[in-house]
Assembly symmetry: C2
């Protein structure tokens, strides 16, 4: 197990309509910048949820831990995405940077004020959370019922879409992080990826940190 973890709350916060509104909040709330080295925590599970964040560059993971070292990384967050929004008083996950990362920090009150003053925004927020829930459900199905190969196919396709590069992606996280996201071990992740490379589905470069998606069609067929 290693220290890196992830933040999932809002893989979808950054999508579609919301983006514009939340960028606006950037201005209105005059968010502070914060730069973090690789492996640092933005917040821990159980800590007061006073802020939420948007990533300028870098990447973040949100995770939950069991008393022993077992870990589940709920989601990864990439540049441009917003995360850390918790309606409860405390965070439900721990957010850790996967690499050197810079974020904009928004006070929680900022969001609340916007919602009160703008019912349309509130509905959008609900919509974004609904999308998150949808995503969580998909991940549950994946964790409970999919094979390692199916899990990795979905993971790589999702990452590629979010990185806006459908051909070649550079993974910002370790094999162990991917394993803890998909409910596998790092060995199984490694073995499955090399097997997928042998099958001509993907290509591995740069010590396995860069992945070429050679056959997206067949990769996509591995999803339902």
């Amino acid at each position: 197990m290693n220290i890196n973890t992830n933040t999932t709350v809002s893989r979808h916060f950054s999508s579609e309509v919301d983006r514009a509104r939340l960028d606006m909040s950037d201005v209105e709330c005059s968010g502070q910048r914060q730069t973090l080295a690789k492996g640092q925590d933005l917040f821990a599970e159980g800590a007061p949820a006073n802020f939420f964040y948007r990533i300028l560059y870098g990447s973040v993971g949100s995770s939950k831990l069991l008393s022993d070292a077992r870990r589940q990384i709920d989601s990864f967050h990439l540049a441009g995405e917003i995360f850390g929004y918790e309606c409860g008083e405390v965070h439900g996950v721990t957010a850790t940077t996967l690499e050197d990362t810079k974020v904009v920090v928004f006070p929680r009150s900022c969001f609340r004020d916007l919602m009160q003053g703008d019912p349309a925004l509130a509905e959008q927020l609900v919509s974004a959370m609904s999308a998150n829930l949808q995503r969580a459900r998909d991940l549950m199905l994946l964790l409970a019922r999919k094979t390692p190969q199916e899990k990795l196919a979905m993971f790589l396709l999702d990452l590629a879409a979010r990185l806006k590069n459908t051909k070649r992606i550079t993974l910002p996280m370790y094999r162990a992080d991917i394993a803890d996201h998909l409910g596998l071990t790092k060995e199984t992740v490694s073995r499955t990826m090399t097997q997928m490379a042998r099958d001509g589905l993907i290509g591995l470069e740069a010590i396995g940190r860069t992945v070429r998606l050679i056959d997206p069609v067949r990769l996509r067929e591995l999803n339902s």
Copy 2:
């Protein structure tokens, strides 16, 4: 695999403050009653999300299916709980009754109107959805990393709390449904439960449909 599935969207909708507001909406929107036999669908994955529901009696499960028979039941819904709220245009899950069930049906517009007119309610709604997300995250950790015994301990304790009976609960769903909720097979569910009975954790009655929680303390210890 059997036909029964579950609906998860809002295991928490019915909790705390929201209950009062949503009961109010019951009156304002004059929801229609609907009675369903065991095994009937309230709505299917991909169908337009025009209504949401509150259970008067009975129980419902919401599930997702893969092209082959693999299934994930996102959650079970019991009497008094509200579910089926989807902000998207279509439902993300299929909702099926686990037994003869009676529900109140609310048109989606009802919710929308209430939200527009009442920012406080909107915030409560967001809060409820956040709770759902929290719950989904806990389930992901369970699915990815917990042992069958830990899964069943958590499941039984959760069900007992929601049925407001911490001593003896009657399961409204099949072993196969529990299995598809916890990412196991029905055989493993059965075996694990009989083992837990042998260990003095629980007691099984009425052909295994009634469970006595003999040692809640030790059961709770099985969670993190």
